[in-house]
Symmetry: C2
Subunit: 154 residues, 2 copies
């Protein structure tokens, strides 16, 4: 009953995550989302409730669909240089988590998953804390991100 949806909710969610991985939360306006995702304002608000709702959905989607394969790659020792999932997590942790408990919870869960995956990496002789491997990875990605300044001041 009623007109069918003209967009794929999952595709939109994933695309939104791409935007949120590139710029800060406040740097992505609803107009940007409407334009880049090709979905109308009304549909966005009907489907996700609010900008924050879309953000949370995007974060959740990435954590659920992309994080598993990412952890596999990491556990296999592969270098994942520019995975957008890491960027999304980085931004979520630094910028959103301190002022949004729901984001903080999602980020904490992601850390947990990644820690477990990295601990089963090619064994090190000593026994480092479970977190050191992920810390190093995050630091590395953080620096790589800071080095990719593309646009002008504002």
């Amino acid at each position: 009953m009623g007109r069918p949806r003209g967009f794929d909710e999952q595709a939109v969610t994933a695309a939104a995550a791409g935007l949120f991985a590139g710029r800060a939360y406040d740097g992505v306006s609803v107009d940007d989302l409407v334009q880049q995702l090709g979905v109308h304002r009304n549909s966005l608000y009907k489907t996700f409730g609010s900008k924050r709702g879309l953000y949370l959905a995007a974060l959740r989607w990435h954590l659920e669909h992309r994080l598993p394969s990412l952890t596999e790659q990491l556990a296999a020792g592969a270098a994942v240089a520019d995975d957008p999932t890491l960027d999304l997590l980085l931004l979520a942790a630094v910028e959103r988590a301190p002022s949004d408990v729901e984001v903080a919870a999602l980020v904490a869960k992601a850390w947990q998953t990644l820690d477990q995956a990295l601990q089963r990496a090619p064994a090190t002789p000593a026994d480092p804390p479970a977190s050191t491997a992920l810390n190093a990875l995050l630091g590395e990605r953080l620096r790589a991100r800071a080095a990719t300044a593309s646009a002008g001041p504002s």
Copy 2:
């Protein structure tokens, strides 16, 4: 000639850095700055030119005045858990640097300084790349920050 300035420019710069270390750039409004710093709008714009000007001044000030002592502590092996300088750097690197080449340059310079300081840390038997120590430190601070969710969603 003229009425003397009613505030200490360095103190204001430092205080502004404190605000920018706590929230994202877009999350700190000019009204916030005016209110928290106790300096009038006009004075801020007269002194720093713009919000971005104040941000850059704050970042530069912290890098020039706080980073040296921070590197000393780090080189001495001290644990600097909650230094606001690190938070400011973290936020600058993740959120501002990708879209502001000037911030990116400052951040890169800070990395360089910290790398050198950390490489002279209590010698490790092997010879890790110069960056690994800092990477670990950044990762650690990143996670600590994400875990301190205080305020509600919005």
